[in-house]
């Protein structure tokens, strides 16, 4: 394999992983922007969506129906989470909200363990997703291509939503200045529910792509993705949507780069290197790359 081919392959790998991180980070960023809440339970929406899809697959529905069902399950779970856990404590100190999100995580994961057992289950993604495109010696797995295409479509749709629709502009307004948003008569509950719904829907999509990629689902599968998404949104600047996307892709590239560069004896410590890079970045840009310094909760 030539160097160019190797770079292309790793580049596509990085973009694909970065797409998943970006989609997850957006979900965190939308909610954080308005509520100043880091919703760690966001990762569990991946799990809910994947199990939802798996359940439908086991029942014999076609893959696309199961995929749709999984995304719907994530979305409903996200909306319920907001309504049941977060709305009642709106206005509470940030720490209380953060702790609530840990409680929601623990609850969801343990319910999943009780219902589905802690044993991972195979996720039967359709065979076309597991095959590869071949260009000479270059191999590109189709799931990577699908992930990139899906991410690009969702990012374009999201951009149109937040710049062209009243609800989308309201969301940006509420995220910038909640007091002014309320004084203008923006329906803040509606905007927050929309942020949760969109973020959860994207988490559902990520869940499907993730499960298809690793071939299995388990009750704790949301932990690493939400951690990565959190890192990505810190890199980009918490609460900034463009920052979340940028952070997601940067993190994807960093990981693949380290994977390629690190000698095999150090490879298990890849994440440690990622966090060192994060610390260095935060020393120079404490609010992330696109974060603004003046963020005050009202």
């Amino acid at each position: 394999m030539t160097t160019l081919q190797y770079l292309t392959q790793q580049g596509i790998n990085a973009i694909s992983i970065g797409s998943l991180y970006a989609l997850m980070a957006i979900g965190l960023a939308m909610v954080f922007g308005i509520l100043r809440l880091i919703n760690f339970a966001h990762g569990d929406l991946i799990m809910v969506g994947s199990y939802g899809a798996l359940l439908l697959l086991v029942l014999g529905t076609p893959f696309w129906v199961a995929a749709l069902g999984g995304i719907v399950a994530s979305t409903i779970a996200g909306l319920l989470m907001e309504r049941v856990a977060y709305r009642p404590i709106r206005g509470a100190p940030d720490v209380s909200m953060l702790l609530t999100s840990f409680a929601v995580t623990i609850l969801l994961e343990n319910v999943a363990i009780l219902v589905f057992s802690p044993t991972p289950r195979a996720f039967p993604a359709p065979s076309f997703l597991n095959s590869t495109f071949r260009f000479g010696q270059l191999q590109i797995s189709k799931i990577d291509v699908v992930a990139i295409i899906v991410a690009v479509i969702l990012l374009v749709l999201l951009t149109l939503f937040v710049t062209r629709t009243k609800l989308g502009i309201s969301m940006r307004a509420a995220s910038e200045d909640l007091l002014a948003a309320r004084l203008m008569g923006i329906n803040v509950n509606g905007v927050i529910a929309t942020a949760f719904a969109l973020g959860s829907m994207m988490a559902g999509v990520v869940g499907l792509l993730w499960s298809a990629r690793v071939g299995k689902v388990d009750p704790l599968m949301g932990f690493y993705p939400v951690l990565k998404a959190f890192v990505a949104s810190v890199i980009g600047g918490l609460g900034s949507l463009p920052g979340a996307v940028l952070g997601g892709f940067l993190l994807g590239f960093l990981e693949i780069l380290l994977q390629g560069l690190l000698p095999s004896s150090l490879a298990p410590f890849r994440d440690a290197f990622v966090f060192v890079a994060l610390i260095i970045l935060l020393l120079f840009r404490p609010n992330g790359i696109m974060g603004s310094a003046e963020r005050e909760k009202i």
């Binding site: 307004a173 910038e176 200045d177 002014a180 004084l183 203008m184």
Partner: protein
């Protein structure tokens, strides 16, 4: 049109409004004067539903607003131009103005109102695609007023619209306030610039440490020696 009856508001343990009673009749321009911490902004925030009164009642056009949400209060026709402008800095001027009309469904009318606001403040038309954060302080205040007007309020609450602005901008803003009043908008104006406020207002309330201590037509207050001494800086100016 708007009455506050014996309204008490607390911030935690702090008794911020102590039995405030204020009446604003349709078509009036009422000034609410007082020093820092007198409770003027608190009064406006309570009318807008951001703060809840502990006791007392707020009536607006026959409705009891005491338990209404800020969302409903905007729908009833009350606009609020907050102290410190609170414009959306990352949104464009146009998007800021649209947010002022966020509850309105009459799209064509909204666009023609946007043209009207731009005719009141031509500089906004020049900056329509710029983000709010790139505007100067005076321009941001114009945007904040324009944004509040986009909701076509029948009662406009204005909180310190002249604070920290150059004299020429203050003149412009008071000209617009006068013009709005002449066009039939009822205005409740909070100001520290008592001299300017007393020139445009019909009625005036004076607040001190959470209480209304004096009220009446501006002519009477302007000649009141105590008001002159405390709020108008004596005979110096």
């Amino acid at each position: 049109m708007l009455t506050l009856e014996d309204v008490n508001v607390y911030y935690g343990q702090v008794h911020a409004l102590k039995g405030v009673t204020i009446e604003v009749k349709e078509g009036e321009l009422v000034a609410l004067l007082g020093a820092n911490g007198a409770g003027k902004s608190t009064t406006l925030m309570t009318v807008s539903g951001i703060l809840r009164p502990h006791s007392g009642h707020i009536h607006y056009e026959g409705r009891d607003l005491t338990r209404s949400s800020p969302y409903d209060i905007v729908q009833f026709g009350i606009g609020h131009c907050p102290e410190g402008r609170h414009i959306f800095g990352s949104l464009t001027v146009r998007e800021n103005l649209l947010m002022g009309a966020v509850q309105r469904k009459d799209q064509a009318e909204v666009l023609s109102d946007m043209e009207w606001v731009c005719s009141l403040f031509p500089v906004l038309a020049e900056r329509i695609r710029q983000s709010g954060a790139t505007l100067s302080g005076g321009e941001q205040q114009m945007l904040a007023i324009g944004r509040a007007l986009m909701g076509r309020p029948r009662l406009l609450l204005m909180d310190e619209p002249s604070l920290g602005l150059a004299p020429v901008i203050v003149q412009l803003i008071f000209r617009v306030i006068k013009q709005l009043h002449q066009q039939g908008v009822t205005i409740l104006l909070v100001e520290q610039n008592a001299r300017q406020a007393l020139q445009v207002a019909n009625l005036c309330y004076l607040m001190e440490t959470g209480r209304v201590v004096m009220s009446g037509p501006v002519e009477a207050l302007r000649t009141n020696p105590e008001v002159e001494r405390i709020y108008l800086g004596g005979s110096a100016a």
